[in-house]
């Protein structure tokens, strides 16, 4: 009967002849379980967030009922209607998007279609630098430098459009450095990197043959972009924009510092205002009982909104990436 190995070299044993039938080694199985558990942690944490914060804020929901969307927020009088903050979140996010989206998409197109490869790297570095500035530094600069400076511009514009029908309502007095608009601008700076980088990824999945086809018909670059790039990427870019929206809604510290901390619902964009994350950050320190429950409840609303937006956004981005490469 032949042996398993015939050695001509030094008698180096290959270990005892192991049976071909080995049960799967314990270490292998353990490792798989640990890896699985780590992955599951994500789902577990998300569920825990939802459960624990809702639990802590349940008194606000049950006491106010639909009054959580009320206009009056007066902790001293035990009134916790959050409409002003929801309004503020919506306004600042919209302002941020209006400014950030064209710029971000423009840069994304610049990087993918216009700029030669060598120049792309430094531009990406700049965007990364923008992304790495912490929120609190934006806030510090915003409140100490930017807001005082822009206040003059606001008041100039304000007095100029005072009384004019629509413009007056939007941009007329009262004006203040820390305001909805200032928060919107700073948020725009902060969400640009994420919209840019995601748009880039999306545009990169446009098949080269489509682009070449457009050029082969004698299209200019802009025409190629509208004809070949846009149809493929508009879904994905929408997703990227939604993600930017989610970021803008949740961004806390910069907003808390420059939004003006004044709970009011007004059309005047240059006026001070408040939004959900900002009020939570600013007032949590002194909050107890139902006040605190209300603030945590605002957090629950924020969580719900951003999860929904992120789920939709990721679904769109995922789907359009698949279609693009089909």
């Amino acid at each position: 009967m032949s042996t398993v190995t015939q050695q001509a070299g030094p008698a180096v044993p290959a270990g005892p002849a192991r049976p071909l039938s080995e049960r799967r080694p314990l270490g292998d199985r353990t490792f798989q379980i640990i890896a699985l558990a780590s992955g599951l942690l994500v789902l577990v944490i998300l569920v825990l967030i939802a459960v624990s914060t809702t639990q802590q804020s349940s008194s606000w929901f049950t006491t106010e009922g639909w009054g959580i969307f009320g206009k009056t927020w007066n902790p001293a009088a035990n009134q916790f209607g959050a409409l002003a903050f929801i309004y503020g979140t919506a306004i600042t996010s919209v302002i941020a998007l209006v400014m950030a989206v064209p710029v971000s998409v423009g840069i994304a197109l610049l990087l993918t279609e216009v700029v030669p490869y060598r120049w792309a790297r430094p531009i990406v570095y700049v965007i990364d630098l923008l992304a790495v500035v912490p929120s609190v530094v934006w806030g510090l600069w915003g409140i100490l430098v930017f807001a005082p400076w822009i206040q003059h511009i606001y008041s100039d514009i304000g007095s100029a459009v005072k009384g004019v029908p629509v413009l007056g309502a939007l941009f007329g007095p009262p004006t203040s450095g820390p305001s909805f608009f200032t928060a919107g601008i700073i948020l725009a700076f902060m969400i640009t990197p994420i919209i840019t980088s995601l748009s880039r990824e999306v545009i990169a999945t446009v098949p080269a043959i489509d682009k070449e086809g457009a050029y082969a018909l004698g299209a200019t670059r802009m025409e190629m972009i509208t004809g070949a790039v846009w149809p493929h990427s508009k879904g994905g870019i929408t997703g990227a924009v939604l993600l930017g929206l989610g970021r803008a809604m949740g961004e806390t510290i910069a907003a808390a510092l420059v939004i003006g901390s004044s709970a009011q619902i007004t059309s005047h964009l240059f006026a001070p205002g408040y939004n959900m994350p900002a009020v939570i950050a600013n007032q949590f320190g002194e909050a107890t009982g139902e006040f605190r429950a209300a603030l945590i409840g605002l957090g629950v609303l924020l969580f719900a909104f951003t999860i929904i937006i992120n789920v939709i956004a990721r679904a769109i981005v995922g789907r359009s990436a698949e279609q693009g490469t089909a």
Partner: protein, 305 residues
């Protein structure tokens, strides 16, 4: 004929009492019908592999149909044939590498030294420690040359530095690479030329002292000189290992192999599917000089002109 409880050759615990027990070489029965390839009487050495009516599936797709052959010890067996005829698929069933492909399935029986390779309790890990594989494109690990070769012994539990040094040197010598790299064992394996990298991969495979070495077109990514060195290597180590090689190069098959299996593609006109079949299998000299099957003849003469 012994009745061992544990098969010494493979160390396999007999799972079923009625299982076949490894017997000394037996005369192979002559194959029955025409579509079946000719079976050769085994006239030298033991049977390492006994492949019986094996079909391979990738999900619903039948890649290979009804292959039966046997691989003999200390011989080089070549699988040749046109592209897409399943030679690599069959090769990969011999060390259960196809297990890694989702949806891959094997029907039929493959016996390795008498024990069923796809039996219920068989561990693919243990299989691969005995049946090594060299791939078409050299795939050295991004580690040092030393660590590449020492990888196998290390995962087998060898920790002794001096023993590892011996194994590394011995393996690299068998692979005819030692002289070229002995002064730079610490350099990355990625820095070698194609031919050197492939020899490194061979050394890596030999370092675990396998029983069988499977080679999937090992020279197709290499230049003729590197190819020649690897062929020399194969002839050199054949006395210690059993080698099965898939090759596109018929001259290579004639140069190095003792037996050759010729595969081809069977096209089903109705369902417009293709599947690989084993057409003929025999001693290399016979296959190339006196092929029995028309298709074999067409293939080997067509190419050699």
């Amino acid at each position: 004929m012994e009745q061992p409880e544990q098969n010494i050759a493979t160390g396999l615990q007999q799972p079923e009492p009625a299982a076949q027990i490894q017997a000394p070489p037996v005369a192979e029965p002559q194959a029955p019908a025409a579509p079946q390839p000719q079976m050769m009487p085994s006239d030298s050495g033991d049977l390492v592999f006994d492949v019986e009516k094996v079909s391979c599936y990738y999900s619903a797709f039948r890649a290979v149909t009804d292959v039966s052959l046997s691989i003999h010890e200390n011989e080089i067996t070549a699988f040749i044939g046109p592209s897409g005829c399943g030679k690599t698929t069959v090769l990969r069933t011999l060390n259960r590498m196809n297990d890694l492909v989702p949806g891959a399935r094997v029907e039929g029986d493959i016996r390795y030294r008498g024990a069923s390779l796809y039996g219920k309790d068989v561990s693919p890990i243990a299989v691969r420690r005995r049946i090594g594989m060299v791939f078409q494109k050299p795939n050295p690990f991004p580690k040092s040359i030393y660590d590449n070769v020492a990888y196998g012994p290390r995962i087998n539990g060898e920790r002794n530095k001096r023993k590892l040094d011996e194994i590394v040197e011995h393996s690299l010598q068998q692979a005819a690479l030692w002289d070229e790299v002995k002064d730079r064992l610490n350099k990355s394996g990625l820095g070698l030329s194609g031919g050197q990298a492939q020899r490194l991969c061979i050394a890596r495979t030999l370092a675990v002292e396998p029983d069988v070495v499977l080679m999937d077109e090992p020279c197709s990514a290499l230049d003729p000189i590197a190819t020649g060195r690897i062929e020399d290597l194969m002839r050199e180590i054949k006395s210690r290992y059993t080698i099965v090689i898939v090759t596109h190069n018929m001259q290579q098959a004639t140069r190095v192999s003792d037996r050759t299996a010729f595969y081809s593609v069977l096209r089903n006109e109705e369902s417009d599917t293709r599947t690989g079949v084993l057409v003929e299998y025999g001693r290399t000299q016979q296959i190339f000089e006196d092929p029995h099957d028309e298709r074999t003849k067409a293939y080997v003469t067509g190419r050699m002109g």
